[in-house]
Symmetry: C2
Subunit: 127 residues, 2 copies
DNA sequence: AATATTAATAGTAATCATTATTGTTATTGT
DNA sequence: ACAATAACAATAATGATTACTATTAATATT
């Protein structure tokens, strides 16, 4: 993978946010510094960065979101505001029980959490 | 929701399979008995059946799959053959620890499992 | 440093699952 | 039987993503 300023900028943007951006959001951001970048370039580079394991991709409904935090962790989606949060869960607590599901060999466990985030819970209390 | 033979047929098809079909698969099946049914009708009815909680929808990569089993359960996807299996997990074992993730209020926990299914493990041993 | 090689780019067209639209048909209440 | 309207078939539109093509730029080689 040879260097390009487009890819460097895209990686920097993803590492400097915690909003789990979509390709389109990244596109809007990177256009501020590289105005004539192509949306296709953003998609291609996001895929390359995922392949190189420099970022993670998470599927949210119909869109793909990206995450600069490559440490194993899970996600919590707020059903009210739509934000996606990183959550650390001590996987050891429940993974062992999961590895023997029937006769299937489990290699990958993803926990998807939904609910109301702390901010929205707070706002709810104010009403 | 008023009656239609199209919806009845779609529901029957989903209840009589365990392949977690896509909209397109359902469309091909239902065309055997209702040849001039429209793909749009299949999509609209699948959405209505999900809203009525008569079936479940599960997202698999870029497509949506449907499941006639509405009891709480999780899914295991085989990375070799692509099949999606229902798996029953005693949720009680790990859910309690999860409900207190930070200050977020968790209402929904989905566990997505991946690996090699029993059939593929078996085939692997034969080689 | 100049040149050759080819990955990466910008711009745009194509794809694919899904949803929306429109005119017609079928179900249900009166 | 008839009116009201949910559901239909057919098809157009949408939106996220990928593919294509000619051009540009990063790295290797002389």
């Amino acid at each position: 993978m040879r260097y390009s300023k487009q890819r460097e900028e895209i990686l920097k943007i993803i590492r400097n946010t915690n909003v789990h951006p979509t390709a389109d959001w990244v596109y809007e951001q990177v256009r501020k510094t590289i105005p004539n970048i192509s949306l296709g370039t953003v998609y291609r580079n996001l895929n390359q960065l995922v392949a190189a394991e420099l970022i993670l991709s998470i599927k949210d409904n119909t869109v793909v979101r990206y995450d600069g935090n490559v440490n194993p962790h899970n996600h919590f989606k707020c059903l009210r505001c739509g934000n996606v949060y990183d959550v650390e869960i001590p996987e050891n607590d429940f993974i062992p029980q999961i590895n023997r599901i029937g006769a299937h060999r489990v290699t990958n466990v993803r926990l998807e959490l939904e609910g109301i985030c702390a901010d929205c819970v707070q706002k709810e209390k104010l009403n």
